[in-house]
Symmetry: C2
Subunit: 375 residues, 2 copies
């Protein structure tokens, strides 16, 4: 028995045209340790957008095709094609994670047949997905695919932040764009584990979301006294570690500066090289793809700014930590790790102009869940 279904594809051609479309694909029969899953839910995560849309400008969006087989096209300026060269001409499948029903299983994976599983590994914006059984995790009894669709990227990232903090000897965390689904999970985790967390948001509405969860430190970066309040919060919590989803601009630099000022409040003598307190900023997202600006002179020489990537972290953390984190996700799937969505849409609807354009305002927290069974 084979399964044929639609797969969302993104293709960039030499002339700078980026095309999103649905292609028919027959998934191969599962190998002995593989399963075929009928996808019932897959979130459009910020981490999917780089592959899905690249640096596409929404102003160039043109829609064509039919309601069932829509096509979205963007024009990219040739000047920015350089860094994208490796993907030119390839029809790429999209979707980091999802959940669904196991409709076929190889001989070593029979136990999963008929089970609802969460899964990770790409190409989830599709009707069917074949994958290794170990890349899937059975959902707890009674959990829906919508509940299990986002059990990897955000939960493991939030847990990864906490593990990174412990591995590197920090005791508190600063988080930007903190009202995101991920940010809410992190706040819940930090409350449960007694870790001081300084949340940076950019509206009172976002602040309210976090306060409703019990957050103590919630700062609006647009407030006039933001820098002073940030330094106060960093001094109070002792945070020397920050995770930044934004990347562009100077917010990360401002966080390092606040850490430096908090450290030098207690300094007894002037050091021309800045404080000896090590300050670490991890950039894990690119909500603002523009360059990062580091005002180094404001925070001395004892600091590091690094990329943070879930896959790199999981490799570094090792099998034991990975297993412990996955178990916690399963145990707290519908509490700590619950996600909220703006709307649930079908696969064809994912190419609707208003849905695509919503991601231009991605920092606003609009987030869609794709359910291919809806059409």
């Amino acid at each position: 028995m084979t399964f044929t279904g639609r797969e969302l594809r993104t293709t960039l051609t030499e002339d700078g045209t980026l095309t999103l479309s649905l292609e028919d694909v027959t998934v191969p029969a599962p190998g002995p340790d593989e399963i075929v899953v009928r996808v019932e839910a897959a979130p459009i995560n910020p981490s999917d957008l780089g592959l899905l849309l690249g640096p596409a400008d929404m102003k160039t969006l043109e829609s064509s095709g039919t309601e069932e087989r829509p096509i979205a096209t963007f024009r990219l300026p040739k000047a920015i094609l350089g860094g994208l060269r490796p993907r030119i001409g390839q029809s790429l499948a999209v979707g980091n994670e999802g959940a669904g029903i196991v409709v076929a299983a190889g001989e070593k994976a029979k136990a999963l047949e008929g089970r609802r599983v969460g899964m990770v590994g790409g190409a989830m914006f599709a009707d069917y997905r074949v994958l290794k059984a170990r890349e899937a995790l059975p959902l707890p009894d009674g959990a829906t695919s919508a509940e299990g669709a986002a059990m990897f990227v955000n939960p493991l990232t939030a847990l990864g932040f906490v593990e990174t903090m412990r591995m590197e000897g920090h005791t508190a965390i600063v988080h930007t764009a903190a009202a995101s689904n991920l940010g809410q999970m992190l706040q819940k985790l930090c409350l449960a584990d007694g870790i001081p967390l300084v949340n940076i948001v950019r509206s009172e509405e976002q602040a309210d979301i976090l306060r409703a969860l019990g957050a103590t430190h919630v700062l609006d970066s647009r407030a006039e006294d933001f820098r002073k309040r940030l330094t106060d919060a960093v001094a109070e919590t002792g945070a020397t570690l920050a995770f930044d989803a934004i990347g562009g601009g100077d917010l990360g630099s401002t966080v390092l500066q606040a850490m430096e000022q908090a450290a030098s409040r207690n300094a007894t003598e002037y050091s021309r090289y800045g404080s000896s307190v090590f300050k670490q900023l991890y950039v894990y997202g690119a909500l603002d793809p523009s360059p990062s600006t580091l005002n180094r002179l404001a925070f001395g020489f004892t600091w590091s700014v690094s990329g943070w990537l879930l896959f790199n972290f999981l490799r570094r953390a090792g099998a034991e930590v990975n297993a412990r984190m996955r178990q916690r996700v399963v145990d707290e799937l519908t509490t700590t790790f619950a996600s909220r969505y703006t709307a649930t849409i079908g696969l064809a609807e994912a190419l609707r102009p208003d849905v695509l354009k919503a991601y231009e305002r991605k920092a606003t927290g609009e987030k869609y869940l794709i359910d291919p069974t809806r059409g």
Copy 2:
């Protein structure tokens, strides 16, 4: 017996006035493990300038006082005093390192009496310096104070770069502002130890200095094909580690981008998160104090940009590595670790307007050696 002499002091007052002057100081009698050194040579290192001049604008320089006791004054805008607050009102001594004759010694340090020593620890722009015997290193027989004046900061930094490379698993180095005294030492070390080094300079004159030492990879950042040649050199050497003396602007970012492009030349499939090759940029100087710009999208998520500070490194490296590095400096003092100076000047001359202004063009490599015995 006590010694009285001049000490160069830098003082910032609440109103934004930065004053350089010579003050009379009587050094305390040496403790049992201390020595008094009559300073004969002390280099004005780039690393001294932050303390000496801070962010002073040379256009505001006013000279007063006498030829023997000159005074140099700068006006700093109040807006930038914030980060300098800890030093306001303090008369600070300057000069990271130097060399001279031991003119008095405590009972446990008698062996050093009459010896010529190199020393590190601040306040070297002075006629006399009292310090712990272990902060001084006897010069090899026949070595002059001029030869031993710079045996700590640059030699240990160059050796520290190589040790850092080994500790962190890299196999080649990229260096900016590479024609500096430090850069020349690094090139000599890398040749001796068989380490591929990519030198970035900004004139043909600087390139010639390095080529005369036997450098293979010397790139002029002002050349039109700089980026392409940098990527080629990084690909050829396999460099994934860079040390940047400049800090400001986007040169560091350009180096990371070259490393990323070199890594993806061999990539077989497109990764939206960039290559999995870890790229490390260390910023160890601030020849350009303006902000650093990181074009993150050009180099993915597997990277780190960090401050590199000699004192932090020495602490991290531990006693054994420290001892090994110091011994190598003594052994190769007049070869690998020889420094060149634009001129040797007296202590009073260090406050001459033309000398101070030379440091505005500090990236040009002008470098003075202070010999207080000259006046």
